[in-house]
């Protein structure tokens, strides 16, 4: 994009600024637009699960404009602030939540080079920033001057801090398998057929994926772990006192986080932008075969990742409308007595598996060894391919290949 | 008494201003960042932390001051360790700086947990977090 803008004759700094702006707006749209779609989807899914129809009229068929109408209603709603609330913190809280949710998207790749900013500690960054969302909730709970909100905030604080431990352990397993914390490389490692996904790498990864799902649901506060907003106990928890736009920011942050953890699961365990069947490769598309082919490959990757992430979100909705809520002590027990030990054992198991059976369950099955080592796409976007291929150390997968693709960045000066 | 304290402080402040002049003599937006920039931030954080520790009477406020001090020190470690900020030919701490900073972060987490537990115990016994009231030896 930058090259394209520069090609138009724009000065470099303008091109860069526009490119950055476009990326930011696109990401913002992923959250805002995603929230609209997901809220509608949640209403429809909840309705169908509950033998209802859900929204049917707004926007013609299927009520597809329902969440937009809701948004307009929220905009027009009176913005209340309780007496005795800490004004600054009360106003700030929703945006803190939203910003954390938004910032984490920066490092999430949507296709192999569609990423806001490729970071070499991408996994870590996403998990860390996601953990900051809790501050918005805590501030909201404290600033609302409501006891229910305070309860919600304390629950959230305890829950999120606890669940970061097993979540971190789960996330480390794909990192270990890929030998890097860079999300793009992790995704690329799973190229090929479905069997090369880390989910099917070995039994331990398969189990730890489900631990990850549990922890992810807990860390984004969805049922059955939605203790912070448990409506039957805490009225509405931390957002009891919020209305209108501020409340909708919390909502967007929640849906953004859901999408984020689902996307992270997709990249870490479910092959990222690599479909179950390498359609592009079978059709002979690759970056090498021309510019339009490169676009097709990217679009396919985008569709794959979006599809997987959406499936993850729908899975969370399905759970939410099926299960009762856990109690706070049970949530903690689940984390500390089940998730953490299981994650630790699975981590150790995956480690030994990697040490002794490094090929995974399906070594080389549908995944030509040569391609994996070189990357199944040659350097895209005019960037030269890897400068110095690693020496062949076929004993390990971790002998990573040199990836030189960075999202918006040019090559680093050396 | 006050004057005695103030006089060296005044002198020191003046000296500081003079010392920082070279930093602002150049356009900060164009000048590449060096170690000293980080040291400046580190110093401010460190000082703020010390001030917090002396000023606050809330036990948790003091805890926050400690965190600030640790972070000020951390910034220095990172700055010295960073080959990126290193001036041409200047020595760096290399990886050691980052490792020390890492340990500081880990130990700060431990320290915060223990301090919080102590504070809560103190709160249980005294029904306050005002450390000025913690003047009896027997809890």
């Amino acid at each position: 994009m930058v090259e394209f803008l520069i090609g138009l004759g724009l000065p470099g700094w303008v091109a860069w600024s526009i490119a950055a702006l476009v990326a930011a707006v696109l990401l913002l749209n992923v959250i805002a637009g995603g929230a609209l779609v997901f809220i509608w989807a949640e209403r429809k899914i909840a309705a169908r699960i509950q033998d209802r129809l859900g929204p049917t009229r707004t926007g013609g068929r299927f009520g597809w404009l329902q969440s937009l109408a809701d948004g307009i209603k929220l905009l027009a709603k009176e913005d209340l602030m309780p007496e005795g609330a800490d004004g600054l913190l009360f106003r700030l809280a929703p945006y803190v939540s939203f910003c954390a949710s938004f910032c984490a998207f920066i490092a999430l790749p949507f296709a192999f080079d569609v990423v806001g900013q490729r970071l070499n500690v991408g996994v870590f960054f996403v998990v860390a920033v996601l953990g900051l969302e809790v501050f918005g909730v805590i501030l909201a709970g404290y600033a609302s001057a409501s006891k229910w909100s305070l309860f919600g905030a304390m629950r959230e604080a305890a829950q999120v801090v606890s669940y970061e431990v097993p979540l971190g352990m789960c996330v480390v397993v794909p990192v270990m398998l890929a030998g890097t914390m860079d999300l793009v490389t992790i995704g690329e490692k799973q190229a090929g057929w479905m069997s090369s996904w880390f989910l099917f790498h070995d039994p331990f990864t398969f189990i730890i994926f489900w631990v990850y799902v549990t922890c992810a649901v807990a860390s984004v506060n969805r049922a059955p772990f939605d203790l912070a907003e448990a409506e039957s106990e805490l009225v509405a928890g931390f957002h009891t006192e919020y209305s209108g736009l501020r409340w909708s920011f919390f909502f967007m942050a929640e849906y953004g986080s859901m999408f984020l953890v689902s996307g992270l699961a997709a990249v870490l365990f479910l092959g990222g932008w690599n479909g179950p069947v390498p359609v592009a490769r079978l059709l002979g598309f690759s970056d090498g075969t021309g510019e339009s082919a490169a676009y097709v490959v990217r679009l396919l990757g985008l569709a794959n990742l979006m599809g997987k992430a959406t499936l993850g979100v729908l899975f969370m909705m399905w759970i939410r409308w099926t299960l009762p809520r856990l109690r706070i002590d049970q949530v903690m027990t689940t984390c500390l007595k089940y998730c953490t030990p299981i994650a630790a054992v699975m981590f150790a198991g995956a480690m030994f598996w990697q040490l002794f059976l490094p090929g995974g369950l399906f070594p080389g099955w549908g995944r030509p060894a040569g391609e994996i080592r070189e990357g199944w796409l040659e350097g895209p976007g005019g960037l030269p391919a890897a400068a110095s291929p690693a020496e062949d150390r076929s004993s390990t997968v971790t002998g990573g290949e040199p990836f030189e693709r960075t999202g918006l960045a040019t090559r680093s000066p050396r | 008494m006050m004057g005695l304290v103030l006089a060296p402080a005044m002198v020191a402040s003046l000296a500081t201003c003079l010392a920082t002049v070279p930093l602002f003599a150049v356009n900060p937006f164009t000048e590449p960042v060096g170690v000293v920039h980080y040291l400046f931030v580190g110093a401010v954080l460190f000082t703020a932390g010390i001030a917090c520790m002396t000023l606050k009477r809330n036990a948790l406020g003091i805890l926050m001051g400690i965190e600030l001090v640790l972070n000020g020190a951390n910034i220095n470690f990172v700055a010295f360790a960073s080959p990126y900020l290193r001036a041409e030919g200047a020595p760096t701490l290399g990886l050691d700086g980052q490792v020390v900073a890492l340990f500081v972060i880990l130990l700060a987490a431990a320290e915060a947990a223990v301090a919080l537990a102590i504070t809560l115990n103190f709160y249980n016994n005294h029904a306050t977090v005002d450390v000025d009231r913690a003047d009896d030896l027997k809890g």
Partner: protein, 402 residues
Amino acid sequence: MPDLIEDDPRIIEFDVRTDEMLVNMGPQHPSTHGVLRLVLRTDGEIVSETEPHIGYLHRCAEKIGENLTPRQWIPYTDRLDYLAAMNMNLGWALTVEKLMRHEVGEKARHLRVLIAELNRISSHLVGMGAYGLDLGTFSPFLYAFRERERILDLFEEACGARLTYSYITVGGATADLPPGWLQRCEAFLDQFEPIIKEYHALLTTNAIFVKRTAGIGVLSRAMAIDYGCSGPVLRGSGVDQDLRRDGESLYTGMYDGYAFEVAVQKEGRYPRDHSYPTVPSEAVLGDCWHRFFVRMLEVVQSMDLVRQAIDRYAACPEPLPEPLKLFEKLPVGDAYLETEAPKGQMGFYVVGNGTSIPWRVRARSSSFSNLSVTHELCRGCLIADVPAIVGSLDIVMGEIDR
């Protein structure tokens, strides 16, 4: 709020004591089943003291009853337990009939059983669904309402109303069932029977549900009796008492010839437990799970009774008797009768003084006594347990506040 006794041994002490908070749960709270206000004294998440405050729905129905004839007061009984209005009508009608020494015919008797048991199903459905809601799952609520809707449709056909029926009245019922009603009722039962398995899957046997309810709010049988608890709350504590079998003969006579088993755990077993989910190992007799399970069993039991009643009702050739006149004179004297309503034992007391208007009317509601045990059950539990416990008592504020 009475002052807490400082060294009350029943209060659990923690090493880390944090701020004690007084929290109002209700009267505008999503899970207090109406306008109930619970004042919780909490230490963090732990509730050290619960004090129910009631009366937000008080309308002095008893005073109103002193100015109306018994048949005129029937609509007011609808509003006591508005989820089981038929049973309220029945209780009052039977009490007045007891005072007047009036006997309704066979046909009216079977009609009453039929209608009352059908209403018991719908009441328990609401109780079950709302309990799911209390525990944070929304779907069972609508599943329950879907089936309740069909019962309400049947009631609407019979009496024109969907909530406050005023159908059973002194001396019989206001109208006979419309033609084809019995077939539709049977069709409903046939369709409803397999659905109960869904409820068991969604709630009764759900691991999270069991975790949330088993061992929570254990009500010992002694305490249940001491607090005058009744209905599923009492039976959930293992007390084998069901007024349909053990009540006054005037009332048990209504169920004469009907076969049913009281839903109570005896010797560690529920009746017919071979075909229903087994009791989870964590569950303690008298806890929330057992109270809930008794209700679920009673749904089946009532279905059975409805089927029996349909047969018997259809076998009665004579027409339904006309109800008593609106201004029928009441004899001098008093009568008290308790009936087994879905929520528990609903007692009515009427004092007649020779006029058509009773001198005194009294409604003893089961939820009133059942709720009064809350502060015992909620002592030392977590905040999340409070809705679970209050929900398991299945209260209706209409009959508590009267």
